[in-house]
C-alpha cells in the first residue's frame, strides 16, 4: 500500500474534485490523518461539531438511541464518502453518533479552521457549500426512500 499525500487523497473525493489548486491547498491545510479501531466513536450525538471526515478505508455507522428499540443504525458511510456536515451550519452539533464498524482510516478535517478560511475567502466558502449541498441532496433523497418503509407491512 503506497503512502499518498493528503492532497492526492482529498482531490479524489467527489466533494473536492476539480477545485482550483489554491483552494485545495487551503483545505489540505486543515486536514490530518486519523485511524479508529472497531467500536471507536468518531463523534457523539449532541457534541460540538468542528470536524468532518473523508473515509479512506472502513465503514462508519451512524447511530442513535431510540427508546423501546435501543441503539439503531440508520446509515453507514464507506470509503470515498464524507461523514459530517453539522460543522457547516449552526448550532454546529452532531446529530448522530459515528461508530467505526471495522478499522477506519480517514482524513479528518478541522471544521472550525475551515469555517474561518471560508469567512476570509468567500469563493472557497461558496465552492464548499455548493458541493456539500449536492451531497446533502443525495442523502436527503436516499433518506426519504428509507422513510417510505417500502418493505413494510400492508398499509391501510
Amino acid at each position: 500500500m503506497s503512502l499518498r499525500t493528503l492532497d492526492a487523497v482529498i482531490v479524489e473525493s467527489p466533494v473536492f474534485k476539480d477545485l482550483p489548486h489554491d483552494q485545495l491547498e487551503l483545505i489540505a491545510g486543515c486536514a490530518q490523518n486519523a485511524v479508529f479501531d472497531p467500536g471507536d466513536r468518531l463523534f457523539r450525538e449532541g457534541d460540538q461539531s468542528d470536524t468532518f471526515f473523508l473515509i479512506r478505508h472502513g465503514i462508519v455507522a451512524l447511530d442513535t438511541y431510540v427508546p423501546n428499540r435501543g441503539q439503531l443504525t440508520i446509515d453507514t458511510v464507506g470509503p470515498g464518502e464524507i461523514v459530517g456536515w453539522s460543522w457547516l451550519v449552526p448550532p454546529y452539533r452532531w446529530h448522530f453518533t459515528g461508530r467505526a464498524v471495522e478499522q477506519v482510516r480517514a482524513v479528518q478535517f478541522d471544521g472550525a479552521c475551515l469555517r474561518g478560511k471560508c469567512d476570509d475567502d468567500t469563493a472557497l466558502g461558496y465552492a464548499l457549500l455548493t458541493r456539500f449541498a449536492q451531497m446533502l441532496v443525495d442523502r436527503l433523497q436516499a433518506t426519504r426512500i428509507q422513510l417510505m418503509d417500502v418493505y413494510g407491512d400492508r398499509h391501510d
Binding site: I59, A61, L62, D63, G70, Q71, L72, T73, I74, D75, T76, G78, G80, V101, E102, A142, I145, Q146, M148, D149, V150, Y151, G152, D153, R154
Partner: protein, 286 residues
Amino acid sequence: MATVTTEPTAVLRGSMTPLPYRVVRKRRENHDNWTLELEPVADAIDPIAPGQFTMLYAFGVGEVPISTSGDLETAGTTLVHTIRAVGAVTKALCAAGAGDVLGVRGPFGNTWPIEAAHGRDLVLVGGGVGLPPLRPAIYHALAHRAHFGKIVVLYGGRTPEDLLFRKELARWRSRLDTAVEVSVDSAGPDWSGNVGVVTKLIPGAPFDPDDAVAFVVGPEIMMRFTAHALIDRGLPPERIWISMERTMRCGVGLCGHCQLGPTLICRDGPVYRWDELEPLLGVPEL
C-alpha cells in the same frame, strides 16, 4: 363459418382447475416468510422457468400468484415457492405443513431474459420479498458461470432480521466470482453491514454499465428508484428488466384483473423491460 366449431381446449383439464401438490419440506425464512417445497401427487404442471409463477390454492380459502424461487437446474418436478404471510390465502399457505396438499395451476407468465445477459455483466437487485423471484435466475447464472461476465447481487431489506436467504447470500459471495452486497434500512448494534437504501449500493457495484443487464424486483417504488439509479450509473433503460405485480384472479388472461393500461400482467408479464413499462408506472392509479 357462422357458429364457432372450435373444440374445447385439447387439454382435458380446464385452465382453472388446480393439480394436487404435497408439501414435502417447509422452512421458515424470517418472521413472516416461509419456503414451501411441493411435489406433484399425480400429474405435474409443465416445467417452470425463472420469472414465471404459479397460482397456489389453499383449500377453501383461495389462490394467489407466487413466483417460482427454486433452483430450477436441479428441482425436477419439485416446486419451490417462498411466500410472505400477509393475507388470508398466504397465511393459510404458510400454515400448511409437510404432508399437506395444496393446489397448483401454472406455470404462467413470461421468463427472465437470461440469454440477453450472455457475455455481459448480470446485475440482480432485489428489495424485500423481491429476492425470491430472482433466485432462480441467480442459480441459473451461477450454474452456467462462464456465460456471464461479472455477476452482482444487490439486496435491500428493512432490517437484518427481515433478510431472506442469508446463508445463500453468504455462500454466493464466498464463491469469489460473485459480488454480493446487502443493505438494510435500519439495524441494531449487531449488524456490521451496510445501512441505507439499496440504491446506495449501485454507484460502487462492480459492473460495467456499458455491457451489463439488470433484473430488478421489489416493491414498485423500489424498482423505480433502482432503475433510476442504474440509469444514472449509465445502464441503458432497454437493459433493465423488472417483475410486475397486480391483482390476479385467473392467471390466464381471462378475468381482466391484472390489466395495467394496455398490458395484461399474467399474459405479457410479469417480466417487463423498464423503458416499455415506465410510461405506465408514471400514471398514478392507472
